[in-house]
Symmetry: C2
């Protein structure tokens, strides 16, 4: 760990970090920001070491303790990590939350290639544009046994502040795959031997009825395709699906949002794997 003090919001390192709030700059540098002790601790617990950590002055030891505890005693003070002890104005400049952040960290991108040998449901977000929904799905996938979340090129950026906030650290526990096209997803599912299951609010089979199907696809390593709320699942993936599911709802009701639908299907899959004879 190398430490330095930063008092001025005009400092170059601060400006560089602030630039990472914009998607374009994130992808140019292949780095992103996380805000708060919880996310940093989740990252460390997942074995991810930050490049840089900005800590509010007067909070260094308590912050480091909190992080150390949460990351299960892992050594957070690796020699390469630069810890910047910052004034309040600097932290305010860095923060996207607006106020109260005591620690903000810079990480290298953590997305990875799709792998065929994974177990459990893989989720594909085809054009899902809402960062809160995408983050919630990452969190639900982490809780309910998913093996990864893949994003289409036109889906939201999982490194955005809002997505990370909704994912609550799950972004460091759940493998993330970026820029995966429909074709690549279909090829991958075929290679992996996964059934393709799409969410289809209008014409799908009632989710709970999938448990009485002989094949019980949800108990296996399926690919779950979720589309945007406006456009739904792309035609090509719909056609490649061997199962289309809807969450049964009351007539005339507002539909569930995509995060809800995804979570319910993952819950049902876990139920079929764990609770049914």
């Amino acid at each position: 760990m190398r430490t330095r003090e930063i008092i001025s919001p005009g400092n170059t390192a601060v400006k560089e970090a602030v630039r990472l709030r914009r998607k374009r700059n994130r992808y140019e540098r292949r780095r992103f920001l996380t805000e708060g002790e919880d996310l940093l601790a989740a990252a460390l617990a997942g074995g991810y070491i930050p490049r840089q950590v900005f800590v509010l002055e007067g909070n260094v030891s308590t912050t480091m303790e909190t992080i150390g505890d949460a990351s299960d005693g892992m050594d957070v003070l690796e020699p390469d990590v630069e810890v910047c002890i910052c004034s309040q104005p600097v932290m305010e400049k860095l923060s996207e939350l607006g106020s109260g952040s005591r620690v903000i960290a810079v990480f290298d991108f953590i997305d990875r290639q799709l792998a065929a040998e994974t177990e459990g449901p893989l989720i594909y977000l085809a054009g899902v544009g809402d960062p809160g929904n995408a983050g919630t799905i990452i969190r639900s996938a982490s809780a309910l046994g998913g093996c990864g979340v893949a994003f289409s090129p036109d889906a939201v950026d999982p490194y955005s502040f809002k997505c990370q906030r909704a994912a609550m650290g799950a972004v460091f526990r759940m493998p993330i795959h970026l820029d995966v096209t429909s074709n690549e997803m279909i090829t991958h599912a075929t290679t992996r031997g996964s059934a393709i299951v799409s969410s289809d609010p209008h014409h799908g089979l009632a989710v709970w009825d999938s448990s009485v199907e002989e094949s019980r696809l949800l108990a296996g390593d399926f690919l779950l395709v979720l589309g945007s709320e406006r456009k739904g699942v792309p035609q090509k993936l719909m056609e490649a699906s061997c199962l289309r599911l809807r969450i049964p709802q009351l007539p005339e009701a507002e539909s569930l949002n995509v995060a809800m639908a995804g979570t319910v299907i993952l819950y049902e899959a876990l139920r079929q794997r764990q609770a049914l004879p």
Copy 2:
């Protein structure tokens, strides 16, 4: 319908409406704002007439048509409604979305008293502070057969912009009850003859196992209590509960957020009511 034109963002009616963005002012006037055609159409479809409608100039007829269609031909032009045809700067001043809103409406509060003769699960948000989660729960309750959503005095405001955005119009379909204390909730459940069911991520019964219990409480008109993610369900309600439920998750996983947990329980309740023999 009375129409007028407003060109200046400094107009008194605009200032009055902008004040409703603050909770304190909303509760003083007992009025709130909705933004966008979808919400206005949902309100009209639910039989709620706005006090005032601000429409972007040049969009009046298309907006009225969209709303008319979505609200199933209902007459949106009641004599008492004041329609203000506004310049772009006025709409920008009114908008919380930031850009692109073509219609913003002012409504009287729509919350109502708890009623004993309702059917289906009633949801109680005890201290739930996140507007996105609260709104999502309202939406899920509307989709999955809930009969109302009650808010504790320390819970988030359902009339806030973020909560309404997440609820996507369900706030006009689902009865909302405000300022309900734990004691009032327990009394109401007793009067109604509802079982009290609490979400308890750590010690509860696995949700899916509630289907094999002889009593099958979720198939009846239960009260579902959801607590804040930090504090959980208040002690008094936990003690009054005859069933505590957890969503089974993988060990070491991030927990589900409160909206996901609520949605899964409502899904499971609907499954037990509709799909099980």
